[in-house]
Structures are given as structure tokens and as C-alpha cells.
């Protein structure tokens, strides 16, 4: 297969697959390689055998867990924001024709040792057990202010300049208690640390707007999150299929034997790869950090993830088949929030009657498994727990000089917004233009066209 391509992509993680799909649709000739024999890289969903091999090679899954195929365990637990950028990309590329989604049933927050539903709007805030009667009214006033805010109507600004006034200043005006600030900042604006309090309110406002828009998008007021049937590993597969439909070539189970360069020193540039199938040449490579270990650095953050297999729903969640629980850092004396993503057989990710709770947070001590204790108390009895710690990496340079564009590791945030930022950023660096999504015809439209 000695051939020339426009772009070679290494690794089939979500970031790489979305870029591969977008570039193929634009007519670029793409070769996409993964050294492993499955799609998804770090963002794959694994079956039981794969997940035990990876995290507990000395143990075997219990017989009662059922068939291997019934399980799709996400390596990176995240949900899609219904109004977020990944949803937007999915709709525009019509990858939605390959992947089915369900709304996540609940969004919960931990306060004073208990969990409660995050209010979906100012009406729900009035009924929430999270706050006392006076605090509810203050919270309602704050939410009304956020909902009514219009950029070009100064009368709705309550005297604030969102680019100057900090979140602390805005909260102060509404007299919010610290526990209430915790759940606004962490369970609605989805900040994982408290740094935002001293920053201008603008970003927090944008995040709250995304939360409420997502909440309203598909009605029902359940949660702002979506989750694909069969697990998050469907997302890279869907975008890989998009790429293949538009001519992308896929080679799994193909280790890279050699990376080819041209030029020397400062002018050294990527030129191609050698694999068991032969030599493939391209001026550009997009890769996840594992393919270029000497061109990335550690961010300093390490993320611990615990995959917990349960045979019961989480207590105090109205037996929800899926939910997110956020434990704000302040509530348990930490610097980083703890997230719990719960999914179940309702999403075809585990055998009937089972639930998967994935706990994650940034390690703050050298005994990180102990840090997860508050989360284990919330989820109750487990059938088994598998744990892993990942180091996070970022590229050393932008890639524009050497043609090597490296993605960032998937961060500990609970959604895909930072991943899509990275995707758009790499797209711009590779193509020299910002990503403008072209609407692809839906399956129905294509059918109608074919009928004429």
C-alpha cells in the first residue's frame, strides 16, 4: 500500500475520529491507523474481558455478570451537554444516523452529606430540599436575573459588567450562602475548582446558559445531559464511519514501525509512517499523545477513575437509570470536585439489572483511592470495583512547523466541551481556517433525493 495521503491520523480516540471525519467530508485523502484492534483509544468503551484485562489482569469477571458482549464500559466517563458543541457537530455531520441517544435521567449534587436533584429552573429551586426557605427565594432571584439577562439591554444587567465583575461579586449581591454558591458554580456552571469565583462572571454566565439551554433542549426537565446507547465508544466509531463513507482508509491492529521525517534540525518535518502494510506518506499527521511520547509533556494532573459494578440503583435518586452526581470540592474538604456518572442496562452498557457507576477526580494525595470515599458512600454496595489512574498529556508545540498535530488527553471534566475546544483548535491549526460546520443531508433527505 505505498501511497500518498493528505493527512495521516494515528489513534482512533474521539478527537482523532471527529477530525478524520471532518477532513474526509471536505475531500481530504485520510489514512487512519490504530495500533490496537478496537476503535476508541483512550475514549473507547470496553467489554468485560477487555476491561478486566486492562485494570485487573489477575481477576476474572464473576459469572453472574453475564455475557461479555452485554458490557460497554467507558474508559473516560463523560456526558454530552444537550446544547453543547459535540451535539452540534453530531447533528451537522448527521453522525446521529449511526448513534442513538437517550436523555440522562437525573442531575444530582451533594450537600451536607446527602444528595439532591439540581433544580432545573427557578420554579424547581423553590421546591428544592437543598436550601432553606429564605435561601430558596434568594436563589430564585439569582436564577431569574441570569434568565432575563440580555447583552444589549443594560436594564437587565443589574448594574454588572460581566467582563469586570467577578462571580463572587454577583453572588454577593444576591446574598447566596456558600453551599448554594457551591451547587451553582459546580453542579450548574460545572466548574471543578473554585478559581472561577475570582474571575469575571462572563464565563460562569455562559456556562449557566449552556446548562439551562441544555436542560430545555429536549424537554422533560430531567437533566441537561445526553448519553449514547451502547456507550461513549459509539462516538469515535460513528465519526470513523463518516470518514470511511467519504473515502477515509482505516487500518486497526496496525502498529507504527517507523515515523518518517524530512529535513534536519529546525526544518525537520513529518513525512509519513511505515507499517506492516508498507509506507504511507503525508505532509500532516494528527495523533493522540501516545504516538509521540517525546513531543508531549505532563500537565501535572493525574486523574483517578473507579469503575463500579452495582446491582441496585443509587439510593435517593428515584431509582434513576442514569444520572450524574457532583460532589463539590468544598463539601468534602478538597480542591477538585468528585464526579459520579451512573448508567445502566437501559443504555445497553451492562447486563440486565446492573448499573455502572464511574467515579472520577483529580488526585490530590498519594493515596487517591482513599479520596474517593465520599463517593463510595453515596453509591452503596458494589459487586466489583476496577480502578485506574491516568496521567494527562499536552503537546509541546502547535505543530504548524513540523506538521505534527497532537491532541490533549481527555480531562477530568464531566462533559465534552473541552474536547470539542481541542478539536476545533486542531482543525484550525491544520487547515488554517476556523471550523464552520456544513449541514450534511439527513438519511431522510438523502432518501427523498434518491427517489427523484
Amino acid at each position: 500500500m505505498d501511497e500518498n495521503y493528505d493527512v495521516i491520523v494515528l489513534g482512533t480516540g474521539l478527537t482523532e475520529c471527529v477530525l478524520s471525519g471532518l477532513l474526509s467530508v471536505e475531500g481530504k485523502k485520510v489514512l487512519h491507523i490504530d495500533r490496537q484492534d478496537f476503535y476508541g483509544g483512550e475514549s473507547a468503551s470496553l467489554n468485560l474481558t477487555q476491561v478486566y484485562n486492562k485494570f485487573a489482569p489477575t481477576r476474572k469477571p464473576d459469572q453472574s455478570l453475564g455475557k461479555d458482549r452485554d458490557w460497554c464500559v467507558d474508559l473516560i466517563p463523560k456526558f454530552l451537554m444537550a446544547s453543547g458543541e459535540l451535539t452540534n457537530i453530531l447533528v451537522h455531520t448527521d453522525v446521529t444516523r449511526y448513534v442513538e441517544f437517550k436523555q440522562v435521567t437525573g442531575s444530582y449534587v451533594y450537600r451536607d452529606g446527602k444528595i439532591a436533584k439540581v433544580p432545573a429552573n427557578e420554579m424547581e429551586a423553590l421546591k428544592s430540599p437543598l436550601m432553606g426557605i429564605f435561601e430558596k427565594r434568594r436563589m430564585k432571584k439569582f436564577l431569574e436575573f441570569v434568565a432575563a439577562y440580555k447583552e444589549d439591554e443594560a436594564s437587565t444587567h443589574a448594574g454588572f459588567d460581566f467582563d469586570k465583575n467577578t462571580a463572587t461579586e454577583v453572588f454577593y449581591k444576591y446574598g447566596l450562602e456558600s453551599g448554594t454558591k457551591d451547587f451553582i458554580g459546580h453542579a450548574m456552571a460545572l466548574w471543578s475548582k473554585d478559581d472561577y469565583l475570582q474571575e469575571p462572571f462572563r464565563q460562569t454566565y455562559d456556562r449557566l446558559t449552556l446548562y439551562f439551554d441544555s436542560m430545555k433542549k429536549f424537554g422533560g426537565g430531567k437533566s441537561p445531559y445526553l448519553y449514547p446507547l451502547y456507550g461513549l465508544g459509539e462516538l469515535p466509531q460513528g465519526f470513523a464511519r463518516l470518514s470511511a463513507i467519504y473515502g477515509g482508509t482505516y487500518m486497526l491492529d496496525t502498529p507504527i514501525d517507523e515515523i518518517l521525517y524530512e529535513g534536519e534540525g529546525e526544518d525537520k518535518k513529518f513525512a509519513g509512517v511505515v507499517t506492516k502494510e508498507g509506507t504511507a506518506r503525508a505532509p500532516i499527521v494528527i495523533a493522540d499523545p501516545t504516538y509521540f511520547p517525546d513531543r508531549v509533556s505532563k500537565t501535572g494532573e493525574r486523574v483517578i477513575r473507579a469503575m463500579c459494578i452495582l446491582d441496585h440503583p443509587i439510593a435517593n435518586t428515584a431509582e434513576s437509570d442514569s444520572l450524574q452526581i457532583i460532589i463539590p470540592q468544598n463539601q468534602v474538604g478538597r480542591k477538585n470536585d468528585i464526579y459520579i456518572a451512573v448508567v445502566s442496562s437501559a443504555h445497553n452498557v451492562c447486563a440486565k439489572g446492573h448499573y455502572l457507576a464511574i467515579i472520577s477526580t483529580v488526585c490530590e494525595t498519594d493515596r487517591p483511592h482513599i479520596e474517593l470515599d465520599p463517593a463510595f458512600k453515596v453509591i452503596g454496595q458494589t459487586k466489583d470495583v476496577l480502578m485506574g489512574i491516568s496521567e494527562l498529556y499536552q503537546p509541546l508545540d502547535s505543530g504548524s512547523k513540523n506538521g505534527i498535530y497532537i491532541s490533549k488527553s481527555y480531562d477530568p471534566s464531566s462533559h465534552f466541551e473541552t474536547t470539542t475546544d481541542d478539536i476545533k483548535d486542531i482543525y484550525t491549526r491544520v487547515t488554517g481556517k476556523p471550523l464552520v460546520l456544513q449541514k450534511r443531508a439527513t438519511a431522510e433527505e438523502e432518501e427523498a433525493l434518491a427517489a427523484n
Binding site: T87, Q103, A120, G219, A240, I245, T249, L252, D253, E446
Partner: protein
């Protein structure tokens, strides 16, 4: 129109194509869906998602949602997504290439491993128009199909010979009645990302 007019009976099935590169998978579908053939058909680009409906007896319509491999079969890189919930498969070999039958047998094993246990598989020998160059005897392939409980057909995408037959014979094997019953009773908890809620009110918790 009378009151007793039956409700339209409609069932949809996912059909996947498998087989070595260049055995004519896409040509078979093009012949079936568009009744056309292109001698110079390059490997499949942009032809995303083809559907075709056929009418069966007793007013039943069966719609095939056809998944082409889009080249992902070339280096054995088909995703689990491809096999997922497939109801039927057309596994194609080229009657003028003995090796392509061996590859077809491997795809059938792969289907038995990855797809639903009740999938309907049609082993299909293409290029019947090149009878003079035949390397795979009808008997040999047919015996394999019988031994493995598969449908067996020989076709020519170029002339159209036998193409309709493949799909009608598959349709006869599919659990049409079951599908119709379950569509009628199925609630729809899944959401359509292309159709956000038009319900703009903030919704109350009641």
C-alpha cells in the same frame, strides 16, 4: 376507503454487506436500489446509506436499511457498530475468484461471533455473467450454505440476474410479524437530536 382498511403493515430491517474488496458488494446494492450498473464503479465513496422497500403479500412493506462497508473491510477494520442490531447480511464472493469464497466464509464466522444469533445470512456469488471464468462451482458453495444454515444465491449485478431474488428470499426469512407488533407497542424513549423540543416553557416539576 372503508373503515376496515388495514393499518399499513410496515417493518424495517438493518442489512449489512460483507465480502472481500472488489467482489461487487456495492454493485449488488446499486442494482437492487437503483437498477443500474457502472462498470467503472470505484470503491465506495459518499454512498452512505441506502434504503429500499419491497412489497410482500398481504400488504406488508419491508424496508431495508442497507449498510455498505465503505472500504472498512479492506484492512479488517469494521467497527462493532456495523454488526450491531443487524437483522440480515448479504455475504458476497466472486465466482471467478476461489479465494473470495474463503474470505466470505471468514466473514460468516465473524458475523456468528459479533452479530445477533438470529441474523439471516445470504451467501451470494456475484459475476454470474463471467461464467467462462468460473472458479467456484455452484455445488461447492451451495453445500457450504446448507451445512451452515444460510440462504444461497448466484447473481450478476451487471445483468441484474438474481438480484431481486436475494432480497425477497431474505425478506421471507425475517421475523416480519414480530417486528410489526413490536413497532406498534414500542414506546419511544430515545430522542432525536435533529428535533429539539418545541416546548419552550420552563416546565414545572409537577
Amino acid at each position: 376507503m372503508s373503515i376496515e382498511d388495514p393499518i399499513p403493515r410496515f417493518a424495517q430491517f438493518k442489512l449489512v454487506l460483507l465480502g472481500e474488496s472488489a467482489v461487487g458488494k456495492s454493485s449488488i446494492v446499486h442494482r437492487f436500489v437503483k437498477d443500474s450498473f457502472d462498470d467503472l464503479r470505484e470503491s465506495t465513496i459518499g454512498a452512505a446509506f441506502l434504503t429500499q422497500t419491497i412489497k410482500l403479500a398481504n400488504d406488508t412493506t419491508v424496508k431495508f436499511e442497507i449498510w455498505d462497508t465503505a472500504g472498512q473491510e479492506r484492512y479488517k477494520s469494521l467497527a462493532p457498530m456495523y454488526y450491531r442490531n443487524a437483522n440480515c447480511a448479504v455475504v458476497v464472493y466472486d465466482i471467478t475468484q476461489l479465494a473470495s469464497l474463503e474470505r466470505a466464509k471468514n466473514w460468516i464466522k465473524e458475523l456468528q461471533r459479533q452479530a445477533n444469533a438470529d441474523i439471516t445470512i445470504a451467501l451470494t456469488g456475484n459475476k454470474l455473467d463471467l461464467e467462462a471464468e468460473r472458479e467456484v462451482s455452484t455445488g461447492e458453495a451451495q453445500q457450504y450454505a446448507i451445512d451452515n444454515g444460510l440462504l444461497f444465491c448466484e447473481v450478476s449485478a451487471k445483468t441484474g440476474d438474481g438480484i431481486r431474488d436475494v432480497f425477497y428470499r431474505i425478506a421471507e426469512q425475517l421475523p416480519v410479524e414480530e417486528q410489526i407488533r413490536s413497532t406498534m407497542s414500542r414506546s419511544k424513549p430515545r430522542i432525536n437530536l435533529n428535533k429539539p423540543s418545541t416546548n419552550t416553557d420552563q416546565g414545572c416539576a409537577c
